[in-house]
């Protein structure tokens, strides 16, 4: 139920957006829970609603955190 799937926001029309989940799956998504979202943003979608924007640099931050936590030099090679 709390499954959320990341996808690329490709179109915004008021509170409704179109999200590309890859492999040709494009769905209408409700953006009402987000402060702001623009085409090109990655969003996490749960039950038809985008619940958070996931900026690409944050993904890099995750990897940084892992690297710090594990302190493995070859982590991101």
């Amino acid at each position: 139920m709390c499954l959320a799937v990341p996808g690329l926001l490709i179109e915004v029309n008021g509170i409704i957006g179109k999200v590309d989940f890859g492999d040709g799956t494009i769905r209408k998504v409700n953006l009402a829970l987000l402060e702001k979202a623009k085409p090109g943003d990655y969003v996490l979608v749960h039950a038809g609603y985008a619940i958070q924007v996931v900026p690409e640099e944050y993904v890099r931050e995750t990897i940084e955190l892992w690297r710090k936590v594990i302190s493995l030099e070859d982590f991101a090679k």
């Binding site: 139920m1 402060e35 609603y49 619940i51 958070q52 900026p55 944050y58 594990i70």
Partner: protein, 357 residues
């Protein structure tokens, strides 16, 4: 090139966990975490290093009580259109589910989103349309938003939303299972942020790590928990920082606050949990199926939980799916007896799907 799923990285993390040389039991409270853990056998990989992973009350379909499903069935039998997410329609009470009621002519519609349920109400202006609203804080904001966006008059909510932090506190208060740390649910946390867990830690000082859902996310989170245990710390760490901000999602939280008020609520497995329910506020009671259809709901029959089913103990981390005498013998995904075998987030379904033999 960095990958989120990489065996050699996983092995390195496992080595780090091994080096900590601790013995601990960590609980997850999210079906999607349980799926990652069993799908990639992370529990089996961690066991030799003294780490036991156990599932808790993290499946919304499973913790919703039989009574709530029966309310939906009664309303379906009275001619309302019942809309809900797929798994909720398959939960059986005394051998019957919303889906099997379809065979008796009930109008049950599976939806992907509450927006689809509103569309159904618009297309059927002369019918009552009830949305069986199951889900934790991740799902509740969409229900709140819908209530506030003036859906058609014939649209009602059968509200079963629940809050996760009170359930964690209830488990810790019960003290039946000694839990050394929590893998906190990533997507619930996307909405609620870090603070609710910090409040729990101030009462029950054990480690918490909010985790993402890739196998490496979970392994790193387990390592972070184990490290806290080793150091004798008890704090909330956020491994899933790419999606979880400290403050959560303020807009979604505001919607919840506007529409719902907290109330004590019964959970399957946990009985009554203080402040764990989200009741529609009085000003929205014209949307509350329980109030609007209260006379029809008086037809609710007595019921009992299926004999032998150990869902309640599975949901408290007291029993593993395989310890249930019904598991994979009489209870299977095609013929589920308890809800933990119905939902894709149920511990029994996950165990059956990935590790049947």
């Amino acid at each position: 090139m960095f990958r989120f799923r990489d065996k050699s990285t996983a092995n390195k993390i496992l080595e780090k966990i091994k080096d900590l040389n601790i013995k601990a039991k960590f609980m997850n409270v999210c079906g999607t975490h349980q799926d990652t853990i069993v799908r990639y056998s992370l529990d089996t990989l961690l066991e030799p290093y003294g780490i036991e992973l156990v599932a808790g009350p993290g499946c919304p379909i499973c913790v919703t009580t039989s009574r709530e499903y029966m309310e939906a069935m009664v309303l379906a039998a009275r001619g309302k259109i019942i809309t809900t997410y797929g798994d909720a329609a398959r939960v059986r009470i005394r051998g019957r589910s919303l889906l099997t009621l379809r065979g008796d002519g009930a109008d049950i519609r599976i939806v992907y989103s509450i927006d689809d349920a509103v569309e159904i109400a618009k297309m059927n202006p002369n019918r009552d349309v009830v949305f069986l609203a199951v889900g934790f804080e991740t799902t509740a904001p969409s229900t709140a938003y819908t209530i506030l966006s003036d859906p058609p008059r014939n649209f009602y909510i059968l509200n079963c939303h629940r809050r996760i932090p009170p359930a964690i506190e209830a488990l810790l208060s019960l003290g039946e299972v000694k839990i050394d740390g929590f893998i906190d649910p990533g997507h619930v946390s996307t909405i609620i942020g870090l603070e609710p867990y910090e409040r729990i830690v101030s009462r029950f000082p054990i480690p918490h790590v909010i985790s993402g859902f890739e196998p490496l996310d979970v392994l790193v989170s387990v390592y972070m928990l184990a490290r806290q245990v080793k150091r004798g710390e008890a704090k909330v760490e956020n491994e899933y920082s790419r999606a979880v901000r400290r403050e959560g999602n303020p807009r979604a939280l505001k919607l919840i606050e506007e529409v719902f008020e907290y109330t004590d609520l019964e959970w399957r497995g946990l009985s009554r949990v203080e402040n764990s329910g989200m009741r529609l506020k009085r000003k929205y009671e014209d949307r509350d199926a329980r109030l609007v259809f209260q006379d029809e709901l008086k037809l609710l029959e007595e019921y009992s939980e299926p004999k032998g089913c150990r869902c309640s103990e599975v949901l408290r981390g007291l029993a593993k799916p395989r310890e249930c005498p019904l598991f994979s013998i009489t209870c299977t995904p095609l013929n589920p007896i308890g809800p933990c075998m119905v939902s894709v987030e149920g511990a029994c379904y996950i165990e059956y799907k990935h590790r049947r033999v």
